[in-house]
Every structure is written in structure tokens, then in C-alpha cells.
Symmetry: C2
């Protein structure tokens, strides 16, 4: 028999046997590392993770931050307009706004023209938090990306991603 010379004892741990035979190989990603969608998703998760870390002191998620940014850049808009711009469905936008409003970061004001709609506006506190958040994002989050990719790389990456997001 082939194993008569050195029968593998039941007591020999698989871990040790694996190390000896170099069996503990890392799982091969194979063609996965060339699949753009896969790498794109992994990168996205990492970036969001870092965003959360950097803005943790202000307790803002990427979605909440994007809402504050939009409200600042677009005063006088209603929920539907802001939600649509962010690709958020109106029903799901309600609780998002609730949480921001309960923290006094923004306010819903009944429109005089159309009393169905709520005009959204940042509060003073909302503007202050947004300003601090922007500083953290620029000085910590985006700065780290710049360090990793270089300014040129970052711009090139942004340009290609924008192209995909808009034209794909």
C-alpha cells in the first residue's frame, strides 16, 4: 500500500499536516480579480467604511451627508426632488429625513404654493454640522484617497466612475 510506510495518524492535526505539505494555501481569487464589478464593490465598501470612520464624531452616514450637501446646494426643494436626485425612493426618504429632522439638522416647511409638499431647509445646526463634516471628509477621508492614488489618479478615477454612473 502507498500509505503503509507512514500512515497518517489520527492525532496529526490537519493544520500541521497542511503546513508541512504547504496545503494551507490562500484561496485563489482567479478570474474574480479581473472582474470589474467585483473589485468595484469591494472598493466601494472600503471607501464607505473609511467615510464612516472619518465622520464618526458627527454621526453621519454617507446618505445623510449627501442629503445635507444637497439641501445646502438646493434651497427650496421638496422631498420628492431631493430623494429623486439621490436615487432614493420617496417612501424610504421619509425615515431618513425624520432622523435628520429629529436631530435638528434640517426642517420640513409647508410650501405656500403647494401645500402638499414640504420645502426642505437646513437649520443653523445643520449648516454647522455640514461644515464640520465637510472639513473631516476633505482633511481625512479624501486626503487619504489622494495619498493612495495621487491627485492625478484620484481625478482619473473620479472621471471614469462618473462616466460609468452617467453613461453606462
Amino acid at each position: 500500500m502507498a500509505d503503509s510506510a507512514k500512515p497518517v495518524s489520527k492525532r496529526e492535526s490537519r493544520k500541521e499536516a497542511a503546513v508541512a505539505a504547504d496545503e494551507t494555501q490562500a484561496v485563489q481569487l482567479g478570474e474574480l480579480s479581473d472582474l470589474l464589478g467585483y473589485v468595484l464593490k469591494r472598493a466601494q465598501l472600503k471607501v464607505f467604511e473609511d467615510f464612516l470612520r472619518c465622520v464618526a464624531p458627527l454621526q453621519l452616514t454617507p446618505a445623510q451627508f449627501s442629503v445635507l450637501l444637497l439641501l445646502d446646494a438646493n434651497p427650496g426643494r421638496n422631498q420628492t426632488e431631493i430623494a429623486n436626485t439621490l436615487g432614493i425612493l420617496r417612501p424610504n426618504f421619509v425615515s431618513l429625513l425624520d432622523s435628520l429632522e429629529s436631530r435638528d439638522l434640517c426642517a420640513r416647511v409647508r410650501s405656500a404654493n403647494d401645500r402638499r409638499s414640504h420645502i426642505l431647509m437646513l437649520t443653523e445646526k445643520g449648516r454647522a454640522v455640514l461644515a464640520r463634516a465637510k472639513k473631516l471628509v476633505v482633511s481625512k477621508h479624501e486626503a487619504r484617497l489622494n495619498e493612495l492614488l495621487g491627485p492625478d489618479g484620484r481625478d482619473a478615477l473620479l472621471a471614469m466612475l462618473t462616466k460609468i454612473a452617467e453613461e453606462f
Copy 2:
């Protein structure tokens, strides 16, 4: 009075008034279009969307496809190893595998060395489906990305995303 000459009638629709006064402006993305995380997420959603369309005939999600790819490149691995590699938690990997196994695309085989673990392997049908899926991905999905970005652009994009995914 400023509006005495042409008082806006209640019957004049807001939409018409908006068009007349050019009030129906698209919501401004503002600094959002420069936020890498935001654009990254948007792009990722688009790419996954297209992936689903391209592989629709085979009814495979990105996650399922990635599992089949990994099993093909790593025969003899167990659930924990495959799940960890994909960043999927073991509990959540169970149902994912269930669905693949119920479609006879892969099989769990009790390991002889360690009867706790399940060796995962593609079935014949699994190999066939994977082969067809790969062709669809290359010929339709990745081809479209190549068309949009050019081969050089695609490679540069992949390289930067990989860097983010691994080193960020």
C-alpha cells in the same frame, strides 16, 4: 406693486409658471459630484445592474457567479474558506449555497479528513452554467465597459480599484 401688472392667477399651473420663469431647474449635485464615495456607489450600482441584465438568461446574481468562479478555481475547499474569501459571513453563506445546490450547480461533500466540514465542488451542470456565464460576462458585460472606457481606461480603473480594495 410689482405684480399688479400681471398677477399670477391661481389657475396658472406651477409647472407652466416654472417653465416660463425657468424655475424647473435640475437639482444641483454640487460638491456631491466630487465626492468619490458617492460616484463610486452610483457606478457600482450601474455595473451590477448591467451584470444582472447580461447574465439574466442564466439567473445568476453577482454573488452567485463569484461563488461558482471561486469553486472552479479552488476545488476541495470548505464553506468557511470560500465564504471568508468573498467577505460573506458563514451564516449568510448557508442559504446562498442552498440555492446553488438546489439548482444542482454545486454540491457539499463531507470531508473524510474533517467530518465537520463540507468540501464544495461544482457539478457538471455547475461547470456548464459557469462556462456560459463567463461567455456572457465577457462578450456582453465587460465588452460594454471596454467600449465605454477603452481597454487602457478599463485596466487603469481596475488597477486603482484594486489598490483601494486591498490597501485602503
